[in-house]
Symmetry: none
Subunit: 223 residues, 2 copies
DNA sequence: AATAAAATTTAGATTAGTCTAAAAATAAAT
DNA sequence: ATTTATTTTTAGACTAATCTAAATTTTATT
């Protein structure tokens, strides 16, 4: 593995994340939005990373990661998520406070540190947001998905899929503020009609009917 | 406190260290040697840091830290030393392996992280090398230290620091079984060459040359 | 298919940190 | 007190990462 700057690592990580939820390719504007830069800067960086064989880049047509690039991105995510576990489990931060700090810690490179940290934490498989932690080969355990309908009150998780993709359904979700990746917390379940009281992204709460809740898959946060 | 780059922090920390053992002022060459740069680069940086009121700088006459600069340097040392404690106590690194890793970790800025880490480690007062850890106000417990060379026969104490950290020296110490925290008892001092007969951890005894004894600091046990 | 809109890339400039080589100032030595 | 040696500073150039504004390419719309 080549030695990368923290900046390059950040680009790689963000490109990976966009590809993971998006599709085949990502464009410079999307990347710019996520890295907090401008499309012009992204263009330059893409050239550099393509040079290093970490992504394949055809001008004006977006990028995808190479095998090597994917492996590297997963290593960075591994470091980020291990630090998040540390911050929550050991230093008692709340799971929604750790992002910025882990962002800094994840760029500490020493591989032996990552190994020892992993061991110290007991080889966790998921971070406090419920995202899987890749092992040193980039493999991870896929965590079970549950229908929102099945989630017990008090539990929190993240929307990972919809099982109905009619336009009507999707635009309803949009209207109430639910999207793939939204953090949701089940506040209550109403017995007689199976509807669910839900807090979205730690903000507003909505009631979803049983039909809606039966078409949303979530991945639960650990414990 | 102004936001500093990791590079600026490194300069500050190294200038502090030179002043602590040296004297009133330090020159650009000394600083360059410690930061791994050239004197010309140091000149530029000194101007910048003087601009920010962190040190006082008279051309051609070396620098000293201002009140603010000293406070900042101590905060950086605090972070470095807390991470060293973490690496040794929690991740089971050896005390002579942690320098490079702590060097990276110390530049993670979030103040709340430092506070939580301190708490998590049980508010340690000394790092694994025996150096004091400043509190958030820059104060630290001064423990009287003596050079092993100066310790009278019959006295016992604990090794708290080495004043030479060359790999050759450290590996020699390792070889004879001396480490930070080792309990040592001076059995005899040989007049004509200044060497010291030492019992280590109540076990084996070794003879250390005057040169070696002059580079080991111990904290004497009471009585 | 032609044109308008959106996205992307290039060109040229900027900032932080560094370097080498030359100039200037201080310190040491005759 | 001059001269020599050492240290420090300046001048000018380089790299990484960024920006704005203009040019280009692709996509969408009439």
């Amino acid at each position: 593995m080549i030695q990368l700057s923290s900046t390059e690592e950040n680009y790689l990580k963000n490109i990976y994340r966009l590809l993971a939820e998006g599709g085949e390719k990502v464009g410079t504007n999307e990347i710019a939005a996520l890295t907090g830069t401008k499309a012009a800067s992204v263009s330059d960086m893409l050239k550099k990373l393509a040079e290093k064989q970490l992504l394949s880049y055809r001008k004006y047509h977006g990028v995808s990661l190479t095998e090597e690039g994917t492996k590297t991105a997963l290593l960075i995510l591994r470091r980020q998520r291990l630090w998040e576990v540390f911050l929550v489990e050991k230093l008692k931060f709340a799971w929604d406070e750790v992002a910025a700090i882990a962002e800094e810690l994840e760029h500490v490179k020493a591989p032996v540190l990552v190994r020892r940290l992993d061991e110290y934490l007991g080889f966790p498989k998921f971070d406090p947001h419920g995202d899987p932690i890749p092992d040193e080969f980039g493999e991870w355990e896929s965590s079970p998905r549950v229908l929102l309908q099945e989630v017990a009150p008090g539990k929190a998780g993240k929307v990972v899929a919809v099982t109905n993709s009619s336009a009507a359904f999707l635009s309803y979700l949009d209207k109430v503020g639910i999207y793939i990746g939204a953090k949701v917390e089940v506040l209550d379940k109403i017995e007689f009609d199976g509807s669910v009281e839900l807090r979205i992204d730690g903000g507003k709460t909505v009631y979803l009917s049983r039909e809606v809740a039966a078409n949303l898959q979530v991945r639960l946060h650990p414990s």
